[in-house]
Symmetry: C2
Subunit: 699 residues, 2 copies
């Protein structure tokens, strides 16, 4: 075993105590390795710099993996005390460059590195204690509290890899080499690439729910495909092979680039791969912390757009069609290579898990039945956009891990790299990035008849989100008016000033837009990115598309545009953010109105929200709460319900009375009414609910 | 280990193969032992006799435990082919003497013993094969298919015990002794009973959901009680001790008997315990297959009413208050006895699991820390009526195992007997019988200050059943009329003849009563006894009581009587039965009307129902189907849906079209309309659904 990185723990076993020890070792190893990655930064000042303008400074990532544990544990009601609410909001979101990630530096006062280090230590102690004492039966399953610990660990493993990419993108004078991360010394002339035959095969993708290794939600389910014979390149494309493309005017000839690729060229002015550096007319090669002579036989690091451009260039040159392999074709290659999954696969056989190098190595160093680097060295871009397999179900603890990437814009990378470990090096893992992103990724090519399907409108695949789209943007039933519109009307009637409003628990965002008819600026916040992305998509793409269920599995497709809604002039007034109503980031303040629709009975700590909401409002600001008070233990622990129970004296406690008590001296109740809403489940089945609307003016 | 009966298998373990072997051995041992119990019957003709007028003949029980496997496996969609639909309906229900159990012999043509034996063999082969091949991960949990196998095994273990009681009640010339069931030879003068102190204690009942032995649904959950000091009899009450009561006019003096006890005396004319037989002026004692001299030091076998009468007699004599122990007091006794649960407890330490005898034995033979027969020998009646513990949840595969007994009429028996094995001898098992039932049961008494609480109205504790009570008997909402009444009106309008109607899927029975306004006789059938018992209770007790949810856990109690509903003159026209619409017993036929409300999309095989329903109707008979067509895989495997999917050509299949196709040549569609219904979940949350009502006349 490599001394740097342990293999992940299996979910089954015969001894619970032994399993706790294994998890603890694996957690500590992950934590140590992650902190090691930050030793590459020259000094503390570098933590406040960005290597990519579209990303947070390094300090964010340093704190992020620790706060992830706490936020998930709170969310799943495994713990009920935060360690540092402030850290746990500012380090919470902004990993991917999504519309709803707040990356505006002005909104953050970053803490000191030493403070974050101390915080990480506290989280470590808590997690170690939880590993000791959480209920545990084997095998560990998705609904086990220990699954959340494994999720935190594997999440940190991902950031070990992605942080190394960010650090590799830092200026050389901002990083330093450390002894544990040694660069490969082997390099020679690149071997000539050639095409190998892969026989036709029935491919079945997807991991069994009872598999004995941790998996992210996108890995489970089933997908079957029949493949014809195809050919694959023996080696990854080397720097040398790619150089021919660069030298042949590759980055100038727009025929090689599709629309997205041309946009990439325009924005970046790229003329060669990102980790090539021209010094005195010669390309040098950037490793994690150094610049070395071009290793011609190492794989080229490119993004998907560059890889596709190379394929178009080579297709033209050879008068045949090369393309990136699909996800299924990659599996056929994997099978042909006679590879085994962890833990049977020994890490010494490939350039991964930090076993050999902290860099790439020659493309002809690791062979698997004659095909090289099928796993390890660098990730390989596929031509497949990521989707959920049949039977896909989001994991409730991390419902935005996958679904925001099911947008036809995220391409799968396969095979893992020298910086991959944990789930990243498992057979069934599935990671996808936008095509212009850099990872430790290169590519190989195939000649195959299979075409890449390109979808037109992207329909919501998420049933619950579709149901809410129909609820907010669809038809009305039983004569009950659209709830979002009615709420916005009430807000408009009672709010005095109309500068800035907050739609908290905005779901798919309809009320956010409706509020923008009377408020100059409206922010929509929801806990779930699955919902937030709908309002954001309407703004950015000008439409949303979803299904409504008619009977059984029969669906009707619906498409709603900004024009249909007459929102063209409102879209600049709205913005959408992911956020936790019980631990809202400090920059959400100074509202004239806060609308909290059907929110309070879904919060893990509603009182925390009620006590803090007053500070977010301007004087004379108005708070509107709507709720059917459907308290349930799956959302809120019973001891934190605001109503719907009997107190110690046997007296019935109703929610509206608790609101009055909590708001005493802070708010005055100025209006109370019922307001019905109807949510369609099928053409014949509806939820018909009567919210109570209470309107409160800040005293 | 005893050679006759194996200990139950644990749910955990490290080897799946080894676990399959253990389960197979345990299944085969159970099956063999059960068939052994029937060897006690003298010849095949005895299989068609009853030992109790209120019960089925023996052949029913012989077939019942085998059909149980098939019915549960079908119901849980683990298998989809029946072995013998006829056997699987006639051997399905009628174990307990419930209102809804059909015990009318005229409704059955019992098969030959050899046919049932051959059937049992087929079931055995199938179960053995399933044990080999069903998916299995350890530990086995409630939602594992293997749980259903264990359920079938433990169900047969119960019938081993109860069949032995029935056989013991057979005339002596109808039974024969067999070598494996040996009667205890020890007997002497009974020891004088005395009272032992049990110190006050905090008792916590209820089994953890992760316990490593199989449990019935009623065992799980939590119940806590603080007990004061109390005293308990050292021995079970012996035949000798009980004799004093009999000789002191015990069965004549009505002061010793409560209302239910007096009713028992009146019906049975009992003057002594059932297994005492007066021969030439002397009491002899009936064992399983023989009559022996009265073993004075063996425990007396009595029902709960007799045990209570004895306590009243002894209380008067000693001028103190004796009563039966409560469930919690029994646990305190169990703890004081320093007992361990299986498998640590060795069966040689008590008279159970057929280890020593196939009969009782002296009350001073097995001591546990000075208290005798805390487990084993005979069951001991408690004074506690059985209820679900906090957190009780019915197991979906056997939803009428427990809830019909939560009626204040079923008393817990504790401690197990010589004929107990499997779950029956586990610490956490809970079995309850009506007080006049005979089991291998006696009693011990306590002196304690704790009182037995007697409840007045029995409110439905089952949330779903309560919801349906409110739906059928409660208020209307959103201006939508009561669905059951509207359906009955439509039925009355379209049916030509009005002699006999069937309300199939009757739920809590409202439409059954409403149909009785126009039909002379109406049968209500539901798959779930949880529902059937509501209509039956309204008929027998004249009222039903249930809760409706207002907010969170706050409830409103409701009570509805026959008078309120003006059903006093209708109740003789209705009857309620448990039944499976996909495998209805042959005696349900000759209807002028069949009403199937919101049924077809909840059946495991709707087509089977549609194809057979025509034969149940008289010529010109009318079938009414109402359904919102809410197809879901949890009720019906997708390949058996009648609609709501796309066929192999991509064409949408709607349910109404499938109905027309299936009914072609059998029925004519004479009316089609929508009919809404509203089900209240809380004061603010409702299901609002639009059924399609199709009315079909038999051609």
């Amino acid at each position: 075993m490599s001394k740097l990185s342990l293999y992940p723990v299996t979910l089954d076993g015969s001894s619970v105590d032994e399993k706790r020890r294994e998890i603890k070792n694996y957690f500590n190893n992950t934590n140590t390795l992650y902190e090691k990655v930050f030793e590459v930064l020259k000094d503390d000042s570098v933590f406040y710099e960005k290597s990519e303008i579209t990303r947070h400074p390094m300090i964010f990532y340093f704190g992020h993996t620790a706060t992830f544990f706490i936020n998930k544990l709170i969310n799943m009601k495994i713990i009920d005390k935060r360690i540092n609410p402030d850290f746990e909001s500012i380090f919470a979101v902004g990993v991917d460059e999504m519309d709803w990630d707040d990356l505006n530096g002005a909104n953050y006062i970053w803490p000191k590195v030493s403070e974050v280090r101390a915080y990480r230590e506290k989280v470590k102690e808590l997690v170690e204690e939880l590993i000791e004492r959480l209920p545990l039966t084997l095998p560990i399953r998705e609904d086990s509290p220990m699954w959340i610990i494994l999720m935190g660990i594997e999440h940190e493993r991902i950031h070990i890899e992605t942080s190394l990419v960010l650090h590799r993108q830092m200026p050389l004078n901002r990083v330093k080499s450390i002894s544990e991360f040694n660069v490969c010394k082997n390099s020679a002339t690149a071997p000539k690439n050639e095409m190998l035959n892969i026989a036709k095969a029935s491919i079945c993708l997807g991991k069994d729910i009872n598999h004995n290794l941790y998996g992210w939600d996108n890995e489970y389910g089933v997908y079957k495909e029949e493949l014809e014979d195809f050919k694959v390149s023996k080696y990854l494309v080397s720097n040398s092979e790619y150089m021919a493309f660069v030298n042949n005017n590759g980055y100038k000839n727009l025929d090689y680039w599709d629309e997205e690729g041309q946009k990439f060229l325009k924005i970046t002015n790229a003329t060669h791969p990102s980790f090539w550096v021209m010094v005195d007319g010669v390309y040098k090669y950037r490793t994690l912390t150094s610049l070395i002579d071009m290793p011609e036989d190492w794989p080229v690091d490119v993004n998907a757009l560059e890889a596709e451009a190379f394929c178009r260039y080579k297709s033209k040159k050879d008068a045949t069609t090369y393309q990136l392999p699909s996800e299924s074709e990659y599996r056929a290659i994997y099978n042909e290579a006679l590879l085994e999954d962890l833990p049977a696969f020994h890490e010494s056989r490939a350039n991964l898990n930090f076993y050999h190098y902290a860099s790439s190595c020659p493309v002809n160093e690791f062979s698997f039945n004659g095909i090289y680097d099928v796993v390890g060295n660098v990730w390989q871009w596929s031509r497949s956009a990521i989707h959920g397999f049949e039977g896909f179900k989001v994991h409730e603890a991390y419902d935005d891990f996958s679904t925001p990437t099911f947008d036809e814009k995220h391409s799968l990378i396969v095979g893992s790299s020298w910086a991959s470990s944990g789930n990243l090096i498992m057979k069934y893992s599935r990671y996808a990035f936008r095509k212009h992103f850099y990872q430790n990724a290169g590519f190989r090519y195939v000649i195959s008849n299979a075409k890449q399907e390109k979808k037109e409108d992207i329909y919501e695949s998420d049933e619950l989100v579709s149901q809410y789209c129909e609820f907010q943007y669809g038809e009305t039933h039983f004569g009950v008016e659209n709830f979002a519109i009615e709420c916005a009307k009430i807000a408009s009637k009672f709010a005095k000033n109309k500068t800035k409003a907050l739609d908290l628990g905005c779901a798919t965002g309809r009320a956010t837009y409706e509020l923008a008819k009377s408020f100059q600026s409206v922010e929509g916040i929801d806990f779930s990115v699955r919902f937030v992305q709908v309002g954001a998509k309407l703004k950015s793409d000008g439409y949303i598309a979803f299904h409504t269920k008619e009977e059984g599995e029969l669906l009707v497709q619906k498409r709603v545009t900004l024009e249909d809604l007459e929102y063209e002039n409102l879209k600049e007034r709205v913005s959408f953010w992911q956020g936790d109503a019980c631990n809202l980031k400090a920059n959400f303040h100074s509202y004239d109105l806060i609308l909290a629709t059907n929110l309070i009975d879904r919060l893990y700590n509603p009182k925390l929200f009620l006590e803090s909401v007053v500070d977010r409002l301007n004087s004379d600001g108005v708070l509107i709460i709507t709720s059917p008070y459907t308290w349930q233990e799956s959302s809120t622990k019973k001891e934190l319900w605001l109503g719907g129970y009997k107190d110690e004296n046997g007296k019935e406690v109703k929610t509206i009375e608790s609101l009055k008590t909590v708001f005493k001296g802070k708010f005055e109740l100025i209006h109370l009414q019922d307001l019905a809403f109807v949510i369609k489940e099928t053409r014949r089945k509806y939820q018909h609910t009567i919210s109570e609307v209470s309107v409160w003016r800040k005293i």
